[in-house]
C-alpha cells in the first residue's frame, strides 16, 4: 500500500465525522458548519487517541520522552498573553479579541501535548527552576493522573467561556481579555504547582481577575457579591498559608534546610495536634472553595452576579481547585486526620451537599441560583468520593470533576443564552419556550439529563462510581452502606429540581407575550456549546478513555492516604515531636529538593526503607 493511499485511508473517518458534524446545522452559516465539522472530527480523533492501548502504553513507558518546559509553556502563555494585551490598542476590540482567542487556542493545542505520554505512576512533564533559594522555594510544576485532566478541562473551558462572553459583553474588551488570560494562567498554575509557595501564589493570583470579572461585568449587586467571594476565599487562604508556613518551618527544623516542596513536606509526620491544626487550615481553604456546606453561600451570590463567562469558569474550573487541593494536599500530606475526619465529613457532604443542596435548589426561582445550588449537590458527590477513599471512588471523583465542569459549564452557558435575550432569569417569566426555541430546548434538555445523571451521559458515570466506592469504603467504617444509600437517594432529588425547571421553562403553553419573538440559539452559542455536548456523550459511553489515564494517579493517592494514616497511628498521641518519614523513592520522588549539605540517599523503590527517622524539637 502506498503511503498516499494509507494517508487517504486514515483520513476518511475524520472526513466522515467532519461531514456529519457539518451537516447537522440547518442555518446557512458556513462558519457554523465548519466549526461543528471540526468538533465532530476532533471528537473522533480524541476517541481514537485516548482509546486504551496496552501496546502503545508499554512503548511509551519505556521510551517516554517528555518535553520538560511543556507545562511552563501552558501556564505562562496566557500570562504573557495578558501582558501583551496591555500593549494592544483599546480602540480596536476586534484585534484584542482575535489575539486573545488565538492565545487561548494555542494554549489548548499545546496542552494536548500532555496526552503524548501515558500518565503512569509518578510525575510527568516535571519542570524545576530554583526561584528563591534562600527560602528553599522552587518553581516546580508537574502533572499526574489527577491534575492532568483538570489542566485539559481548563484549557478547553476558558476559550469557550471567553468566546461566549464576546457575544454579550461589549464594554471594556481589553480589560476583559486581560482578566481572562490572567485568570487562566492562575488556574493552570495552581493545578500544576508542586511547590506550596508557588501554589499559594497562583491560588491568590486567580482570585484577583475573578473578582474583577464579577465586579465589573456583573449584575446589579455585583460589588457585594465580589466582596463576599473575596472575603470567603481569603479567610480560607490565610488559614492555609499559616499551615503551609508551619509545615515549611517544621521541615526546616527537621531536615536542616528550607523547602516548600510538596515532595518534601509530604514526608512530614507531624504530632497529632499539629497535624489536626494543619489539616483544618488546608481543609477550610478547600471546603470554602468547593464549596462545602456550610461555607457555600458565597457561590449562589457570585454566580448570580457574575457574567456568563465568569460563571462558566467559576463553576467549571475554579471550584475544582478546592477538590483538587483536597486530594493533593489534605489526602497526600495529612492522610491521618483526613482519614479520621472522613466519615464525619462524608456525612456533611451527603446531608449538607447532595441532599440539602438539592432541596434548596428546588425552591429557587432564579435559574442561575438553581444551577449554583445544584453545583453544591454535585460537588458533594465529588467530596464524598474523596472521603470514601477507595480507588473507584477517587476515580469517580476525578471524573465527576470533569463532568461537573462540562455539564454545569454548559448549563450556565445556556442560561446565559436566555438571559441575553430577556435580561431575566426568573423561571416564572418563561414557559413553552420549546415551541419557539426548539434547538435551544433540545440542547438544554440534553445538558439537564447530564446534570441529572441519566446513564449514557457523563453525569451518571461519576455518580455511579462514587456511590459504589462509598459502599465498599473502609474509611467510612460501618456507616459506609448507609451513606452510600443516602447518596444514591440524591439522584431522586436531582431529577426533581432539574425537571421542574425544564418543565416550567420549556413546556406548557407559551403564555408570556414577551417570549413570543425570541430568536433561537445563535451560531456563536451553538459553536460554544457543541464541545460540551459531544463530551457529555463521549464520557458517558466511553468513560474508560478518561478513567484509564487517571487510574495510576488515583492509586497513588490511595497509597499515600493509607501511608498517612499509618504514620499518624504510629505517632504517640502525647508526643510533641515531628518526624520525617522515610523517603518513598522511585518515580514519586523525582525532583526531590535535596538539601545543600547532606543529601540523603534515596532508597530504592522496592526496598523497605530503613533510614533512621530524623527528629527535632517542635
Amino acid at each position: 500500500v502506498s503511503p498516499l493511499a494509507k494517508l487517504i485511508f486514515d483520513i476518511v473517518p475524520y472526513a466522515l465525522a467532519f461531514t456529519l458534524g457539518a451537516l447537522i446545522p440547518r442555518r446557512k452559516s458556513t462558519f457554523e458548519r465548519v466549526s461543528l465539522g471540526i468538533v465532530g472530527a476532533f471528537a473522533l480523533l480524541a476517541i481514537r487517541v485516548l482509546w486504551p492501548n496496552p501496546a502503545a502504553a508499554a512503548v511509551s513507558a519505556e521510551g517516554a520522552t517528555e518535553w520538560k518546559p511543556l507545562l511552563s509553556l501552558i501556564v505562562f502563555l496566557p500570562i504573557f498573553g495578558a501582558a501583551a494585551v496591555l500593549f494592544l490598542p483599546r480602540q480596536s476590540p476586534h484585534l484584542i479579541k482575535r489575539f486573545t482567542m488565538l492565545v487561548l487556542a494555542v494554549d489548548f493545542f499545546v496542552s494536548l501535548g500532555l496526552l503524548s505520554v501515558e500518565w503512569s505512576r509518578g510525575w510527568h512533564f516535571q519542570h524545576i527552576v530554583p526561584w528563591i533559594p534562600s527560602l528553599g522555594i522552587r518553581y516546580h510544576v508537574a502533572v499526574d493522573g489527577v491534575s492532568a485532566w483538570l489542566v485539559l478541562l481548563s484549557t478547553l473551558t476558558t476559550p469557550i467561556a471567553l468566546y461566549v462572553s464576546f457575544g454579550s459583553i461589549t464594554t471594556r474588551i481589553k480589560d476583559l481579555c486581560f482578566a481572562f488570560l490572567l485568570l487562566h494562567g492562575g488556574m493552570l498554575g495552581a493545578f500544576v504547582s508542586l511547590d506550596l509557595f508557588l501554589f499559594f501564589v497562583f491560588w491568590e493570583l486567580m482570585l484577583v481577575p475573578m473578582i474583577v470579572l464579577i465586579g465589573v461585568w456583573g449584575g446589579v449587586e455585583r460589588i457585594k457579591a465580589a466582596y463576599k467571594f473575596f472575603l470567603y476565599t481569603m479567610a480560607g487562604s490565610m488559614l492555609m498559608l499559616a499551615a503551609i508556613l508551619y509545615m515549611a518551618w517544621t521541615h526546616l527544623k527537621l531536615a536542616g534546610y528550607p523547602s516548600f516542596d510538596y515532595l518534601a513536606l509530604s514526608r512530614l509526620v507531624l504530632p497529632r495536634e499539629a497535624a489536626w491544626c494543619c489539616f483544618i487550615g488546608f481543609f477550610l481553604a478547600f471546603a470554602i472553595k468547593v464549596p462545602m456546606f456550610p461555607f457555600h453561600t458565597w457561590l449562589p451570590d457570585a454566580h448570580v452576579q457574575a457574567p456568563t463567562g465568569g460563571s462558566i469558569i467559576l463553576a467549571a474550573v475554579l471550584l475544582k481547585l478546592g477538590t483538587y487541593g483536597y486530594i493533593r494536599f489534605c489526602m497526600g500530606m495529612l492522610g491521618g486526620p483526613a482519614w479520621i475526619a472522613a466519615a464525619t465529613l462524608a456525612g456533611i457532604a451527603i446531608g449538607g451537599g447532595i441532599i440539602y443542596g438539592a432541596l434548596v435548589a428546588w425552591k429557587q426561582d432564579d435559574v442561575k441560583r438553581l444551577v449554583a445550588y445544584s453545583s453544591v449537590a454535585h460537588m458533594g458527590f465529588v467530596m464524598l468520593g474523596l472521603f470514601g477513599g477507595t480507588e473507584s471512588g477517587i476515580q469517580g471523583s476525578i471524573l465527576q470533576m470533569l463532568n461537573h465542569g462540562v455539564s454545569t459549564g454548559a448549563l450556565f452557558l445556556l442560561v446565559g443564552v436566555i438571559y441575553d435575550r430577556r435580561h431575566t432569569r426568573l423561571v416564572r417569566e418563561f414557559g413553552g419556550l420549546a415551541k419557539i426555541m426548539p434547538v435551544y430546548a433540545v440542547l438544554f434538555v440534553i445538558v439537564t439529563m447530564s446534570s441529572v445523571g441519566v446513564p449514557g451521559t457523563n453525569g451518571f458515570v461519576g455518580e455511579f462510581l462514587v456511590v459504589l466506592g462509598t459502599f465498599v469504603s473502609e474509611t467510612l467504617g460501618p456507616q459506609a452502606k448507609l451513606q452510600g444509600t443516602l447518596a444514591a437517594a440524591g439522584v431522586i432529588l436531582a431529577a426533581v429540581y432539574m425537571l421542574s425547571v425544564v418543565q416550567k421553562m420549556f413546556f406548557g403553553p407559551l403564555d408570556n407575550p414577551k417570549n413570543r419573538r425570541l430568536p433561537d440559539i445563535n451560531v456563536r452559542e451553538v459553536v460554544a456549546v457543541a464541545p460540551f455536548i459531544v463530551l457529555i456523550f463521549v464520557i458517558g459511553f466511553f468513560p474508560n478513555l478518561f478513567l484509564s489515564r487517571s487510574q495510576d494517579g488515583a492509586r497513588t493517592v490511595v497509597d499515600h492516604y493509607r501511608e498517612g494514616l499509618r504514620a499518624y497511628r504510629e505517632t504517640d498521641p502525647d508526643s510533641t515531636k515531628a518526624v520525617l518519614a522515610p523517603r518513598r523513592g522511585g518515580p514519586l520522588e523525582r525532583g526531590y529538593p535535596e538539601g545543600p549539605a547532606t543529601p540523603e540517599p534515596a532508597a530504592a523503590p522496592d526496598q523497605q526503607p530503613q533510614a533512621l527517622n530524623a527528629e527535632a524539637g517542635k
Binding site: 451537516l23 447537522i24 440547518r26 486504551p52 470567603y232 456550610p294 461555607f295 457555600h296 453561600t297 458565597w298 440539602y356 432541596l359 425552591k363 429557587q364 477507595t390 480507588e391 473507584s392 471512588g393 476515580q395 420549546a434 441519566v454 446513564p455 449514557g456 451518571f460 458515570v461 455511579f464 456511590v467 459504589l468 466506592g469 462509598t470 459502599f471 465498599v472 460501618p478 452502606k481 448507609l482 452510600g484 444509600t485 444514591a488 437517594a489 439522584v491 431522586i492 431529577a495 426533581v496 425537571l499 418543565q503 413546556f507 406548557g508 403553553p509 466511553f542 468513560p543 474508560n544 478513567l547 504510629e570 504517640d572 515531636k577 518526624v579 523497605q608 530503613q610 533512621l612 527528629e615
Partner: protein, 855 residues
C-alpha cells in the same frame, strides 16, 4: 445455520451489536436530520431499522435454539464483548471490571423478539396514526431511541449496562408522555413518570452497591457465582454502634438498642424490587402509569403496556438466583403483585376514559406477573409478559384506532377517549372490532386463548409453589450475629390465590364493560357537538344532558391498513400464542425452553404435595371466574341496559366517587410525601438564608462593622484627644517600668549534674543571689551577676533565690528549686518494630530536673 454459527461464534456474537445499534442509528438520523429528510425518509429510517433489528433477533433466536439443542444441561448463551466501561473497587482492595457486553440466552432472546416484533408493528401503526403531527420526525426519533434503550436493557450482560437501558427507557417514556408538551398536563405527567421511576432507580442503585459489597460482581455470571455470599446477616438497626442514650432510657432503651438483622439477600432483593415496582408500576409506585396515558396512544401500547413496564418482571427473572435466596423478598414480591392486581382492578371499574381503563388493567396484569415470579414460577410469570404484550398492545392499538376515529369527529382529546361518547362502533370499525374482540377474549380468559393459559398457570402456581429456605434450618451467621431467616408463611398460598381469582373475576367484568361500551349499543357520539369540551370532572357519570339531536359531522371510519394490519397480527397472536405453553394440553414448549435459565433458581422453589391433581379443579375455577365476570357484565350492561350500575352509583355515591378518583391515592401522596419534602425544602431555603448565611456572613460582618464603629470614635482627628491617649499610654508604660519583675530561667545537664540559673534582664536591673541554698544572700549588695552555675550530686536538691532591684530602687524576688534525680537505667530510647522494620523513638524518660517556680 451452520454458516451463521461459524460467522458469529458464541463468544463473539457481533449480531447483538447490530441489533442494539440499528435503532440508535435510526434515532440519530431521525432526530438530527428528520425535519429536512421529510416524512417518507423518516418512516423508512424508523421502520427500517427496527424491522431489520427484528429480523436479526429472529436469526439470533434460531441460532440460540440450535445451540441450546446441542446440550440442554447448560443454558446456551451468546455474548458480544464491547469495550471496558470502568473498573470498580471491591471490598478489601480487590477490583473488578465493568464492560459494555451484550449477551443473549433463552430468556432475553425471547424478550428481544417481542420487543422488536411488537415494536415494529407499533412503528408501522404510528406511521399512520401520527401522520399529520408536526412533530412526526421527533416522534420516530423517540420511538427508535426507546427501542434502543429497551434492547440495551434486556441484552445488557451486567447490571450497570441494564441500568443504562433502564433509565434510557424512562427517559424516552418521559419524552413521549410529554410529546405534546404544550399542554402543561402532559408535561407534568411526563415529569411525574420520570421522578417516580427515579425513586425505583434509587433502589436499583442501592442494590448495585450492596451487590458489589457482598457478591463482588455486577455481571450475571459473576453475581451467580457470588450469590451465596449474600447469605450474610446485616445489622440494619441501630444505625450506629448503639442507640444514643439507650442506657438512660431503661426498658425502652433496651428495645431501641436491640440489634435487628436482615440477610443481605433480602436487602438486595427488596432494593431491586423497589426498582421493579417503579418501572413496572406496582404499589406503591404505580401512580405514574395511569397519568402516562397523556402520551400518544401508540406510545401507551408500546411502552406502557407491551415492553417497558414488563422490564421489572424481566429483572426479577434475570436476577432469580439472588431472589430465591430470600423467601421474605419473594413473598413481598408475590404479595405486592397480588394486592396491586386486585387494587388496580377495583379502580378500573369506575373509569370512563378507555385509555385509563386499559392503564389500570395493565397495572393489574403486571401484578399478576409479579405474583407469578414471586412464588417462583418464573417461566409462568414471564409467559404472561409475552401473551400480555400481544393482547394488551392489541387492545391499546385498537383503542387508538377508536380514538382516531372519534377524534376525526370530535376534535377533543378527552372527549374522544370517553366511553360515554362511544357505543355501537362495531358497524363503523369492523377490523378494529374483530381484533379488539380477540384480545378482549384473551384478557378475560376465554378458554384456549393465550391469556387463559398464562393466567391460569400463574393462579395455579400461586397456590402450589413457594420458596424454600436457602440454608437448612434458616439460621445465618454465628454467635452474636446469628439470625433466623423468614420462612414462607403457611397461609401465603391461599391468600395469593384468592386475591388472584377475585382479580380474574373483576378483570372479566370491567373489560367486558369496556368492550360492550365501545362496540355495542347505539353510537352516542352523534349528540356531541363538533367543538365539544368535556366539563371539568363531573362525577355523575352516565348522565350527560345533551338534549340536542344528532348533529352533522363525519362518521367514525375504519383506519388505514397501516393501522389495522398490526392489529390483525397482534389479535391473532393473542388468540393462539397460548399454545406455546399449555400444561392443560400437555404442551410445555416454553417451560422447557426457559428451563436451563432458571435451573439454579428453581432448586430453591418448593411445590406442595398433590399439585398435579389440583390442575383440573383450578382450571374449573378459572373458567368459572371468566363466566361470572363476563356474564355479569353482559347482564348489567346489555340485558339491563346499565340499570344496576346506575342504581349502585346512586346507592353509594361516596364509594363510587372515591373509586373513580382512584381511591385518592395521588392526593394522599401529594399531602404526605410531596408535602413533607416540600416543607423540608422550604425550611432548608429559609435556613440557608438566615442561619447559614446569617451566621457565617451576616453575623461575622456585623461583628466586624460593630468593632469598626466603636474604634472609629478613637480616630477623631482631634489632636487634643490623641495627646490625651498618648499621656494615658505613657503613664501605663511608666508603671510597667517602675514595677520590677523577677524571672529565673534554669538550664541543666542532668547527666553531669551541672545546673545554671539565669535572671531575665530589665532596664537598670541589679541582682543578688542565694545560689548555695543556705537561706542567706550570697552578698547583701546588688550586683550585675545575671547567672549562677553550680553542681549537684545525685538525689540532691537545692533552693535558689533571686532578688531584683530596678532603677527606682524597688525590689522583687523569686525562688527556684532544683533537684537531680537518680539515673535512668531503662537504657535505649529506640524501639524497632519487628513487623515492618520501622524505628520508633520512645518518649525520653523524664530524668531532667523539673523546676518549680514560685513567684
Amino acid at each position: 445455520m451452520q454458516g451463521l454459527i461459524a460467522l458469529f461464534p458464541a463468544d463473539d456474537f457481533t449480531l447483538l451489536a447490530f441489533i442494539v445499534l440499528l435503532p440508535l442509528l435510526g434515532a440519530f438520523v431521525n432526530g438530527v436530520f428528520g425535519k429536512r429528510l421529510g416524512r417518507e425518509a423518516v418512516t423508512l429510517m424508523g421502520l427500517g431499522t427496527v424491522g431489520v433489528a427484528f429480523v436479526l433477533s429472529v436469526v439470533t433466536f434460531l441460532v440460540l435454539r440450535e445451540q441450546q439443542g446441542e446440550g440442554t444441561e447448560k443454558a446456551a448463551r451468546l455474548i458480544w464483548h464491547g469495550w471496558d466501561w470502568a473498573s470498580i473497587s471491591l471490598r478489601a482492595g480487590a477490583a473488578s471490571r465493568i464492560s459494555v457486553n451484550f449477551s443473549v440466552d433463552a430468556l432475553n432472546g425471547t424478550m428481544a423478539l417481542v420487543v422488536t416484533g411488537v415494536g415494529f408493528l407499533i412503528h408501522l401503526y404510528s406511521s399512520k396514526y401520527m401522520e399529520d403531527d408536526p412533530g412526526y420526525y421527533r416522534f420516530f426519533c423517540y420511538l427508535n431511541l426507546f427501542i434502543f434503550s429497551m434492547l440495551v436493557l434486556i441484552l445488557g450482560d451486567s447490571l450497570p449496562v441494564l441500568f443504562v437501558g433502564w433509565e434510557g427507557v424512562g427517559l424516552c417514556s418521559y419524552l413521549l408522555i410529554g410529546f405534546w408538551f404544550q399542554e402543561t398536563k402532559n408535561a407534568a405527567a411526563g415529569k411525574k413518570a420520570f421522578i417516580t421511576n427515579r425513586i425505583g432507580d434509587f433502589g436499583l442503585l442501592a442494590a448495585m452497591g450492596l451487590l458489589v459489597y457482598y457478591a463482588g460482581a455486577l455481571d450475571w455470571s459473576g453475581i451467580e457465582a457470588g450469590s451465596r455470599n449474600l447469605l450474610t446477616p446485616v445489622a440494619i438497626w441501630p444505625l450506629g454502634h448503639h442507640f444514643p442514650f439507650y442506657d438512660h432510657l431503661g426498658r425502652v432503651g433496651e428495645i431501641l438498642n436491640a440489634r435487628v438483622y436482615v440477610s443481605a439477600a433480602t436487602l438486595v432483593g427488596l432494593a431491586l424490587f423497589l426498582g421493579c415496582a417503579g418501572k413496572s408500576a406496582q404499589i406503591p409506585l404505580y401512580v405514574w402509569l395511569p397519568d402516562a396515558m397523556a402520551g400518544p396512544t401508540p406510545v401507551s401500547a408500546l411502552i406502557h403496556a407491551a415492553t417497558m413496564v414488563t422490564a421489572g418482571v424481566y429483572l426479577v427473572c434475570r436476577m432469580s438466583m439472588v431472589f430465591v435466596l430470600s423467601p421474605a423478598a419473594m413473598f413481598t414480591i408475590a404479595l405486592v403483585g397480588a394486592v396491586t392486581a386486585f387494587f388496580a382492578a377495583t379502580i378500573a371499574f369506575a373509569q370512563n376514559d378507555i385509555k385509563k381503563v386499559l392503564a389500570y388493567s395493565t397495572v393489574s396484569q403486571l401484578g399478576y406477573m409479579f405474583l407469578g415470579v414471586g412464588v417462583g414460577a418464573f417461566a409462568a410469570g414471564f409467559f404472561h409478559v409475552i401473551t400480555h404484550a400481544f393482547f394488551k398492545a392489541c387492545l391499546f392499538l385498537g383503542a387508538g384506532s377508536v380514538i382516531h376515529a372519534m377524534h376525526a369527529r370530535i376534535h377533543d382529546t378527552d372527549a374522544s377517549q370517553d366511553m360515554r361518547n362511544m357505543g355501537g362502533l362495531r358497524k363503523y370499525l369492523p377490523y378494529t372490532f374483530m381484533t379488539f374482540a380477540a384480545s378482549w377474549a384473551a384478557i378475560v380468559g376465554l378458554p384456549f386463548t393465550s391469556g387463559f393459559f398464562s393466567k391460569d398457570e400463574i393462579l395455579l402456581k400461586a397456590y402450589t409453589s413457594s420458596i424454600g429456605l436457602p440454608v437448612a434450618g434458616g439460621t445465618l451467621g454465628e454467635g452474636a450475629d446469628e439470625m433466623k431467616l423468614m420462612a414462607w408463611p403457611a397461609w401465603g398460598g391461599t391468600v395469593l390465590y384468592v386475591l388472584g381469582l377475585l382479580t380474574a373475576v373483576m378483570t372479566a367484568f370491567y373489560m367486558t364493560r369496556l368492550f360492550l361500551g365501545i362496540f355495542y349499543g347505539e353510537f352516542r357520539g352523534w349528540k356531541i357537538k363538533a367543538n365539544y369540551k368535556a366539563p371539568a370532572h363531573d362525577h355523575d357519570h352516565g348522565h350527560h344532558a345533551h338534549e340536542t339531536g344528532p348533529l352533522d359531522g363525519p362518521k367514525p371510519h375504519e383506519s388505514a391498513w397501516q393501522m389495522w394490519v398490526p392489529l390483525a397480527i397482534l389479535g391473532s397472536l393473542a388468540l393462539v400464542a397460548g399454545f406455546w405453553n399449555a400444561p392443560l394440553l400437555h404442551l410445555h414448549g416454553f417451560d422447557e425452553w426457559l428451563e436451563p435459565v432458571f435451573k439454579q433458581a428453581s432448586e430453591n422453589v418448593k411445590t406442595i404435595e398433590g399439585a398435579e391433581g389440583l390442575m383440573y379443579p383450578f382450571v374449573g375455577l378459572a373458567v368459572a371466574a371468566f363466566a361470572i365476570g363476563v356474564g355479569g357484565a353482559y347482564w348489567v350492561y346489555i340485558t339491563r341496559k346499565g340499570e344496576p350500575a346506575k342504581r349502585f352509583v346512586e346507592a353509594a355515591p361516596g364509594l363510587h366517587s372515591l373509586v373513580q378518583d382512584k381511591w385518592r391515592v395521588d392526593e394522599a401522596y401529594d399531602e404526605v410525601v410531596i408535602g413533607s419534602v416540600d416543607s423540608l425544602a422550604e425550611i432548608a431555603v429559609v435556613g440557608d438564608k438566615w442561619v447559614v448565611d446569617g451566621i457565617l456572613a451576616r453575623a461575622s460582618a456585623f461583628i466586624v462593622s460593630a468593632l469598626g464603629t466603636v474604634l472609629r470614635y478613637f480616630q477623631t482627628g482631634v489632636v487634643h484627644a490623641y495627646g490625651a491617649f498618648m499621656v494615658v499610654g505613657l503613664g501605663w508604660m511608666a508603671w510597667l517600668l517602675m514595677a520590677p519583675r523577677a524571672e529565673a530561667k534554669t538550664s541543666n545537664d542532668a547527666a553531669a549534674g551541672a545546673f545554671s540559673v539565669s535572671a531575665a534582664p530589665g532596664l537598670g536591673y541589679k541582682y543578688r543571689w542565694d545560689a548555695n541554698g543556705d537561706g542567706q544572700w550570697d552578698s547583701n549588695d546588688y550586683g550585675d551577676k545575671t547567672e549562677v552555675n553550680f553542681n549537684l550530686d545525685v538525689a540532691q536538691s537545692r533552693k535558689v533565690r533571686l532578688e531584683v532591684k530596678n532603677a527606682f530602687g524597688r525590689t522583687a524576688s523569686t525562688e527556684v528549686t532544683l533537684s537531680r534525680p537518680k539515673p535512668d537505667k531503662s537504657g535505649g530510647a529506640f524501639e524497632v518494630n519487628p513487623d515492618d522494620g520501622t524505628i520508633k523513638r520512645l518518649e525520653p524518660t523524664p530524668n531532667a530536673p523539673t523546676p518549680e517556680v514560685k513567684p
